[in-house]
Symmetry: C2
Subunit: 359 residues, 2 copies
């Protein structure tokens, strides 16, 4: 099923709007919180939030394991618990800023959030089940069902064996100290620090060790970088670096343009990367012509959480400015000024631009 | 400042999308919860979520009172507490379904939610302050500031004296048993059961008794029913009746069209009205030609909460159907099949239409 692409300048369609009124981004002023309050964390639900009866719910662990497991939520809570602060971003963040816009959830910049997740390491459970040597991938199946790309499916994604066995991959049942809310995967979801959001399968029903790469819709059709429909493309995995700024001053209701007084202005934001620590953030007040280094804040809450930054901007005069920020990571990735287009509208981490009127 | 109107068929603009990615509706499957979980309740923030320091925050009660008050959050929590389940809907719900669409927050149908609010009655505090006889309105000012209609403003709305003194009008500091989340007005908001959302001022800073009707932007320009810019119009107050259905079956990702098996199907939903109890709900499976009475569920959680309904639908054959539901209240209001247009795109309570493919 070919993906529809909007022509340059074409308005958002009713179908995109239907998704935008259900799913939601994090209002950018919420960058002020190191841990995003529940309800402000971004949310993308492919189908519907499923009905789950916590009493009868079980997690199955099967496939290429010596001892298949069937665990209740109480069983999982009785396992060793770990807590980790993780920044999570949708792979489609920035899609609606592309000039030729792939028709899907129309994110601008807000599809991100950081939560304190609590759960049990996946590895412990896989070891308990006796993961076979032939298992090359671990497949995760959610309770959410729908039709996508013409295929009726449960939401399913897999992880390569070595990724699934990383210490910090968790099966989580708490978010910010509370039971997982229904919309974030109650009673149990996967959290794979550093990877884009689609990896973190919600409403987990089954975990299966398999002897070949999974080729379901969400792995082989969606969430790949491709320029043409018939291209195999490259699967998405870790988040590219991005920095976002808290829009300064006060907004106009409809345009969201910012009004800022003519005085020194502390610009603040947060930056992250899924591949390596943030190495630095730069700020531009002229739309990306000239850049100045921002100051990084204290160490992030974990190796997988965003890092704060600040920059004291002194507007030279009244007028209109385009503020930008861009992050680079220790692996040498840097945010581009302009996006690289791809068919799915994924990983558009081009710099944020905030229009500000100083008066 | 004239309001912009989109021509029929025109796509959603970037400015509307910016609002839709920040604010969000309640995914319709969340109609299954009598109390909407935090994060699923609809949210409209005119400007930014303000920064509030709970330690230094105070509520001022002044104007035409004998004893002006300045109360901390602890002071307010020490007052008599009441808990009330209230359904709240945005006055702009349905705006983006209008053929000539006023450009603003582009709601389809989801701008609603029901919460268990806890707080202290406004009346008690007004009596404690000694409300003067000359006070005809009570004016509420939030900490949220921005520019709207060309006017820099704090969000402000007033209530007629007799409405403000109703027993069930609360100053609330808890939502669903937790402290108010930042996006719902932490540390204190007004809740006026039965009225549209704009009435329920968030991030309260000041309550003032005044001797004439308030004529600020949100009262005299926005939130009025008008056909022309220069018309005085009629202010919005209580919610018109509306019923919403949980879309049955499973969705297609992009179109949200529903797939339903050819077997009896229990349709369920909730209905509310701000003026009087829900008298009944009808269901149509043919786009509104023929209607059948649904069964109302048990009494609502309060006089101000939505009421559940259900209807057993037996699809006669495979094919495509348009399911509708409509509510009527005891005051004789009924949802129309087609909306009445107005300049602000308010109170469009035309019946919901859910496209279903039975196979």
């Amino acid at each position: 099923m070919a993906r529809e692409i909007a022509e340059p300048g074409a308005g958002i369609t009713l179908e995109e709007l239907q998704l935008a009124t259900r799913n939601h981004g994090m209002p950018l002023e919420a960058l002020r919180y190191p841990i995003t309050p529940v309800g402000l964390h971004y949310l993308l639900i492919h189908y519907d939030i499923p009905v789950v009866e916590p009493e009868s719910w079980k997690l199955e662990i099967g496939g290429l394991v010596e001892r298949p497991l069937e665990l209740s939520l109480a069983d999982i809570r009785a396992r060793p618990a770990e807590e980790l602060v993780v920044t999570m971003e949708c792979a489609g963040n920035g899609r609606a800023r592309l000039e030729r816009r792939p028709i899907s959830q129309p994110w601008l910049l807000e599809a991100v959030g950081t939560a304190r997740w609590r759960g049990t390491p996946l590895r412990t459970l896989l070891e308990e089940a006796g993961l076979a040597d032939e298992a090359v991938e671990i497949l995760f199946t959610g309770l959410d069902r729908g039709v996508e790309g013409g295929i009726a499916q449960s939401f399913q994604r897999s992880l390569p064996r070595e990724e699934a066995l990383r210490d910090e991959v968790l099966l989580v049942y708490e978010m910010n100290g509370e039971p997982l809310p229904p919309q974030h995967g109650f009673p149990l979801r996967l959290v794979v620090p550093g990877w884009y959001g689609m990896t973190n399968v919600k409403w987990l029903a089954r975990i299966e060790a398999v002897d070949r790469p999974f080729e379901g819709y969400q792995q082989s059709t969606a969430y790949r970088l491709r320029l043409e429909e018939d291209e195999e493309g490259r699967p998405l995995d870790r988040m590219l670096p991005r920095s976002l700024m808290i829009p300064p001053g006060q907004p106009e209701f409809l345009t969201r343009e910012r009004n800022v007084p003519l005085e020194p202005c502390l610009l603040e934001g947060r930056a992250w990367s899924g591949t390596s620590p943030v190495a630095g953030v730069e700020v531009s007040a002229d739309g990306g012509e000239n850049w100045n280094e921002a100051e990084l804040g204290q160490e992030a809450d974990s190796a997988w959480a965003w890092r704060s930054w600040s920059y004291r901007w002194e507007p030279p005069a009244a007028g209109t400015y385009e503020l930008c920020s861009r992050a680079r990571d220790e692996a040498g990735n840097e945010q581009p000024l302009e996006p690289d287009w791809n068919l799915g509208g994924y990983v558009n981490n081009a710099v944020q631009r905030v229009r500000v009127v100083v008066s």
